[in-house]
Amino acid sequence: MRVPVLKQGACLVAVFQPGLTDAELLALREDLSVRVGEHRARGVVLDVTALDLIDSFGARTLRGIALALRLRGAETVLVGIQPDVAFAMAQLGLTLEGVDTALDLEEGTALLSRRLAARRHNGR
């Protein structure tokens, strides 16, 4: 099952489904990179609320997606990491350095709006 990607204003929202496979996560990477161009999206929200774990491959790939999308001109924020998932990730040493995170979709969208406003202000 591919990860559905929704358009919301100038942003894209990728809604992760439980039982995501490695191949599906890699497909999302390609998909988002293309769709940021198609929709001229400035921001991307990765909503992982439904994931019951994020292991080292998942963390590495999510980080890669966020960094690649920044190079494509879009800010990315990861939202919805569940408490137990966060605990297990910390135990594993997965810090997702360089990736913005927010509590949920609402907070994530607000964070993106602030970032995009700051960008406009700085004339980028």
Partner: protein, 136 residues
Amino acid sequence: MDAETRVPILRDVDVVTARQSGRALGASLGFGAADLTLIATAISELARNIVDYAGRGEIVLAIAEERGRRVLVVVARDDGPGIPDVGLALQDGWSSGRGLGLGLPGARRMVDEFEIDTAPGRGTTVTLKKWLPEGR
């Protein structure tokens, strides 16, 4: 040991099946949500190692009773190339694959007992044990 669950590991969907089976077995044993996530994450790391390095293998899940306590046992077994330097593979940040090099050392930190049996050409068997907290 009573009931055993065997999950053949050949490709990425099997990684998902293995961790879901581990979570289900752990839940039936009475583990809490935080422990179940640790168990599932550890299984995910081991199963992916099988796919990435050995190509095929299996994850065996079982419930055992040791010293009067219930324990969830996870055995990840393959006949792959084996690990030449186990000490190195257990170090944080060392990776020869596509991970972060946190798989084995990370899995080790998430459980109570960790055992690895490997040698070049002899495959790899990793055994994890997670003890059910007392009073559950």
